[in-house]
Structure formats: structure tokens, C-alpha cells
Amino acid sequence: MSAGPDDPDTDLDGILARLRAQVAERRSAGVYPPGLEEDLEAELGRIIARRPSREPPIRVFTEELTRPPGVDPARVAAATASGIPGGAVLHQAVARVVGHQVAAILSQVQDISNMIWDDLMVLAEALTKLDRRESDNRDLWALVDSLLDRMAAFERLPPESGGAGVADILRRLERLEAAEAARTARPWFSTRLTSAGATFEAARLVEGLDGCAPVLVLGPGSAAAADLLNAAAGSAAAGSAAAAGYAAAGSAAAGYAAAGSAAAGSAAAAVSAAAGYAAAAGSGHDALACLGSTPDRSLGAVVAADLVERLAPQQLLDLVRLAVDKLRVGGYLVADATNPRCLWGRAQGFGGRPDRVLVDPSWLALCATEAGFGSVEIVWGPLPPGAGAPGGVGAEDAVRQSLFQPISYKLSARR
């Protein structure tokens, strides 16, 4: 088998036999410790066992759920034969009564089963959407790998090769930067409508802010919220200068992508000058610039309407810290967001929009506390449709509680 084809002197079988004998000898002499080979060969298995599954078990679970039932109770026939005169008729009558009872019980069981099934499907859908390991960043990984490969090749080049390869590395770096930049979505349309119900209604958002003027309302949801505040202020003090200030900024506020720093700046100037209400649309940099341009301790409230999920993590921290500086003592920071703990909301895709980063209420509350707000409160939004339906089964109620947390929440932090 392993002898060289035309070389009778090469006894490869003999060489292999010698190697095997040497290994056996060294094993018995303790050169190779007992279990060494088994341990080496099992090491990959141990690594595999610890790695996260790429095929979430939830898919298997979903397939099980959607499998049709194996038995149709309607096809189960009762024996009604009898040797007694009239016995068969009696049996049939009893069978009909029992059949109706069984059908009613089955129907009740089926109703409960359907409710649980619906809940489990929501859970499965939500968990499937949560499992994004397959797709997250995969496009960037390939570019990063390619860049690292090139850098490794560059490092291997002899010193006399000069700058050869640098241009190639720079080109790949530019591609990576472009790909990374393209991952941030900046829609030219309002995405608020696509998440109807996922954020607070304007009225509930600004609830309790009467008398807090001046209030600066930031974010894509600012127009409606500021409108309400202005209307309230207008009824209390008709023709306030603040309304004019809002009107100027409000036109920009209607389309969030159109609002630039200049509009934001003018809105901030108007609100602080007029001590009224103003809206400044925009997200991220624009909103922070607007807030930053107001004098310290000049505001009665800062309302972030549908904003915090659009901020990068550091921008969120900056927003909270800036708000502390700009609010006078007793002033409020109010912010609304989708509740990431609501699995029903996840199943509806509220967490899957590319322009959002979900913000957990406890994280937002912690940020506010750490920034120096004295009183921090989370106000929960509405429950999902169907969440209030009577379950009647303890286990189902437990499932419902975990599935149907409030869709949205509002942070109300008092300085």
C-alpha cells in the first residue's frame, strides 16, 4: 500500500510500523502521559460545546408548534351495540350526551390551547428576531478580515520594499469606513408613523409640564408635543411671544431630516429669550447642539420626544448630562422610548428598525440618576392589544406577563 511505486528500498509500511512501536514504547515509559491523545482529540469538541448555537432551538420549537395534530376527536366512534332490546338506542342517546360533553370540554381546551399557541408564536417570533448573530456586522467582518490580511502582508514585506501596499491598505480602509457609515440609517421620511403605539402620545408625554416654561422639546416627535404645550400656554396667556418663536422653528420641525443646526439654534434662542415653548427637530448632533446652545440653568423642562433611540450610546449620555446643566433646580427631563422588555413589541418589529438603538428603561434611569437628577421615575405606556384578556390559567398568565409588558415608557427625571 505505502511502498514507493518503483523503489523497493523504501519500506513505508515498515517505517510506519516502527513509528507505532516507538509511540507504544514511549507511552508505556510515560513520555506520552496517559490520555494525552484522547485529550487532544477531545479539545475541539469542548470548544464546540461552549460555542453559542447558530441555529436557535426556537426554530425547532416553532416547527413543533405548527405541526398538525395527529388525532381528530370527531373520528373517534363510541360502541353502541347491545344485546338488550332498545339497548342500542339507549347507548346511542348516552353516547350523544357524552359526545356533546366531550366536545364542549375539548372546545374549551382548544380555546385555551389556541391562546397559549398565539402567545408562544409571539414569543417565538420575538426570540427569532432577537437572534441576529448570523447577520450582525457580517458585512464588516469580511472587510475587517481583508484589511487585517493586507496589513499582515504589509508587515511581512522586507524593509527595502518602501511603501508598497500602503495604497491598497488605505483603499480597503476607506471601503470599511464607507461600509460602516452606510450602516447608520438616516431616513428622509418620518419613521414615527411606522411605530405607531411604540412611543408615547404627545399628550401623555408632556403631561405634568404645565407651568414649567421655558420648555425645550427635542426630537422628531417635538412638533406635536410643542404644539400641545403652546396651545396650553396660549389658552393661559394668549398671544405669548413664545408661540411666535415656536412657529418659526415649527416649520423646520415638521420634517425631522430637514432641520439643521441653524434651525435648532434659533429654536433654542427663541425659547430662552421668550421663556415659552419651542420645538427643535432633528436627532443626534442637531438635538445636542440645540440643547447645548441654551444658557445653563435656563430651562424648566427638556422633552426628548421619540429621540433617545435615535442617539448613539455616547450621545444619550451627553444628552442627559447636558440636560442637568441646562435645567434649573426643579426642572424636568422627559424622554419616551419603546420598551425593549416588551416581547410583543419585538415581534411587531419595533426593535428592528435600522435607525434605532433600543434603550432599556433601567439604563436610562441609571444615566439620569448618575447625572445628578434627584428624582427619577419610569411611567409605563399602554399594554399591547390582548394583554388584558382573561387567561384563567396560572401558567398562561405568567407567559402573558413576560410577553406583554408595556409597549413604551417615559422617563421623568426631576433636577
Binding site: 514507493g4 511505486p5 513505508l12 516507538q22 514511549r26 491523545e37 482529540e41 470548544i47 460555542r51 514585506l157
Partner: protein, 370 residues
């Protein structure tokens, strides 16, 4: 003008099956046969060299024979073939076992399993089936193909040897110090790179601490690649260099720097790198699985399927440290390459396909019988 067109699942630069199809196309054209390559998927760099399946009606009409290269399943290609009336020839490059991929990429495993089913469906309408090794041919016979011909891949080792090495890579390898164990192959579960690592563990910890292991091959399966890198860390193998997919020039640098070539693959339809190593006078250590012994043909140290990492580590040591063994393996490698020149392999394949296109009795030089 006679027309024989070829079909592949994916046409890509550097892909072994695409290269085989292009080599065959050149042979067909030299024989005066019009031949084009069609694929279900195509690397943009292949534009002009290959065409997508929808272009077949305009560019491939009137073919006497369609040559289908099979290595994986693809529903689009299967559907296309189901609609075509032309007679078929199958070139079987073998399919990796689906179960190896189950834990890593279930969707890919499904494609492999589908591929075997699709292959079986072609048996009834195929004029000739070509296995690139007797191992593959035996699988074809088992599936039900008849006639089956063995035509080994045309490995143009002379062209590879004539390639100028990459100076940067050569400098890097020269700087490693110590003997270089080389392993070439995609990072896929059935290639058992993990097993090579365990053999190297024995070599470097018990025998030659200054030796290095250079692993060349594309990381096709992220999870498996990650696991292999984790294994390198867990075993503390700081003299392992995983270089990924390389240019031909850089690959030549690796072969030139190698002291010994090792493959632990448990499933190969042919195993081209074994012949490439021989072309560079690099002795080969391999394992007795699938078509590897056939390709090796006794010109390398063939470990038994039950041999463990210690025997493998000692085999590597013996090849590196025993000059007589090394010289005899190099000489055997040269004889092995000389015994089956690329031209002979090409003509076997051409004869089979031209015979099938002309509806002539297919020559069966390797004597594979159903």
C-alpha cells in the same frame, strides 16, 4: 461545428472546479468544439469567461452535450437541467459529507444533501459520468450511473513550479526559523485542520520545539474557523501561522519553504495539494481516507485511519530529521507526478466527453464497471 457546453454551480476566480471547467473548455476548443461555461452564480471578475444560466438560450443553443460539474446541490441548476432536452455528461468532483457541516452551517449541509439527491436524478439521462478519481467513480457506480469513466484532474504542477514566489511571503517564512510543516486546504470540518494541530502539538512539545506550522486556506465557515483559532490558543501553539487564502505566488513561497506537507482530511474526491507538494519536492504525510491514498499512490507516508496524534507527530519528526526517509519520499513524489502527466489526464476526459457527444461507445480505460 460541434457544441459541448459546461455547467457549474458557481464560477469564481481561483475556484478549483471553475479552473477544471476552464481547462476542459480550452481542451474542447483545441479539439474544434465550440464550448462555453454557464453557472448559476458568478463572480463579477468572471464576466466574459462564463455566463449566467438565463443566457443559455441565446448563447448555448444547439449543444450536443451538456457537461455538468457536480460538487454541491443547487436548486436553480437542478431546475434548469430538468427543463433541458440535451443529453448530459456528469463530472463528479465529489461532495463533502453533509453531516460534517450540520453543527456549523445547517443550510449548507442541506445543499450538500440536496446535491446527492439531484445527482441521483441525473443518472437516468447521463451518457457518461466521469469521476476525477476511482473513489469518485465508485460512488457514481453505486448511485447508478453507467458508463463511468475515471479521468483524474489535470494538475499542471509544472506551471505552478514556474511561478515566481512572492518576495514578502518568502521573507516572512525565512524569518520563522526551524522546519516548516505546511497544510493547505480550506478551513472546513472534514479537512480536519484540528487534527493537524494535535499532531503539531506532539511535534513541537516533544520533539522539535523550533518547528512551525503554516496553515493555508480560505476560512469558508466562520464558526469552524473561530473554533480552530480557539484550539490554537487552548493548545498554546504560538508557532502556528494561519495565513488564510493566498495568491498563487504566495502559495509557491509556502511550498518552497516547507519541510513537510501534511493533510489530515477525511473526505477528498482527489486532493490536489498533495500533488502540488510533490511538485515542489516536499514530502507528504497524509491519512488513509477517501481518495487520498489513490492520489498519494504510495508516494508519501500514509497514516492509518486509527493512528493518533502521537504517531502523526512522530511521522512528522521522522520526515524532518531522517534524511534517508525524506529523500526517498521526494523521489517517490517525482515518480508519482511523472506517472500521470496533465496531458494524459486531459485526453482521458476529452475522449470520454467527445465519445458521449457523438453517441459513440464510451471508452472506459480504468475499467470501472457498474
Amino acid at each position: 461545428l460541434r457544441r459541448i457546453h459546461q455547467l457549474v454551480v458557481s464560477a469564481a476566480q481561483g475556484d478549483a472546479i471553475t479552473n477544471a471547467a476552464l481547462d476542459l473548455r480550452a481542451g474542447l476548443r483545441r479539439a474544434g468544439v465550440a464550448s462555453e461555461l454557464f453557472s448559476a452564480f458568478m463572480d463579477p471578475e468572471m464576466e466574459g469567461e462564463a455566463y449566467l444560466l438565463p443566457e443559455f438560450p441565446t448563447r448555448g443553443a444547439g449543444a450536443e452535450l451538456l457537461v455538468v460539474h457536480v460538487s454541491i446541490g443547487e436548486p436553480r441548476l437542478a431546475e434548469f437541467l430538468a427543463r433541458r432536452p440535451e443529453p448530459l455528461a456528469v463530472v463528479y468532483h465529489n461532495m463533502a459529507p453533509a453531516e460534517s457541516f450540520e453543527p456549523w452551517a445547517p443550510s449548507f449541509a442541506k445543499l450538500l444533501a440536496d446535491g446527492r439527491r439531484e445527482l441521483g436524478a441525473l443518472a437516468g439521462r447521463t451518457r457518461v459520468a466521469v469521476g476525477v478519481s476511482a473513489y469518485n467513480a465508485a460512488e457514481l457506480v453505486k448511485i447508478g450511473f453507467d458508463p463511468v469513466v475515471v479521468a483524474p484532474l489535470a494538475v499542471d504542477a509544472a506551471r505552478l513550479v514556474a511561478t515566481e514566489p512572492d518576495p514578502g511571503m518568502s521573507a516572512f517564512l525565512a524569518g520563522l526559523g526551524g522546519p516548516v510543516v505546511l497544510s493547505v486546504g480550506q478551513l472546513l470540518p472534514h479537512k480536519r485542520v484540528d487534527w493537524v494541530l494535535t499532531a503539531f502539538y506532539v511535534l513541537v512539545n516533544y520533539w522539535i520545539p523550533e518547528s512551525c506550522l503554516v496553515v493555508v486556506g480560505a476560512d469558508r465557515l466562520a464558526g469552524y474557523g473561530d473554533a480552530i483559532r480557539a484550539l490554537v490558543r487552548r493548545l498554546g501553539l504560538d508557532r502556528v501561522h494561519m495565513l488564510g487564502q493566498l495568491s498563487q505566488a504566495a502559495l509557491v513561497s509556502c511550498f518552497r519553504a516547507a519541510s513537510v506537507f501534511m493533510t489530515a482530511s477525511e473526505h477528498e474526491g482527489f486532493c490536489v495539494p498533495v500533488l502540488e507538494a510533490m511538485a515542489f519536492d516536499v514530502p507528504v504525510v497524509a491519512r488513509d481516507f477517501a481518495a487520498v491514498p489513490e492520489t498519494l499512490a504510495g508516494a508519501g507516508l500514509l497514516l492509518g485511519a486509527t493512528d493518533g496524534p502521537c504517531v502523526a507527530g512522530e511521522a512528522l519528526r521522522a520526515v524532518i530529521e531522517e534524511p534517508g526517509l525524506r529523500e526517498s519520499l521526494v523521489a517517490a513524489g517525482r515518480r508519482r507526478l511523472g506517472a500521470r502527466p496533465a496531458e494524459q489526464a486531459r485526453s482521458t476526459m476529452l475522449e470520454a466527453l467527445l465519445g458521449a457527444a457523438g453517441d459513440q461507445p464510451v471508452v472506459n480505460p480504468r475499467g470501472v464497471q457498474p
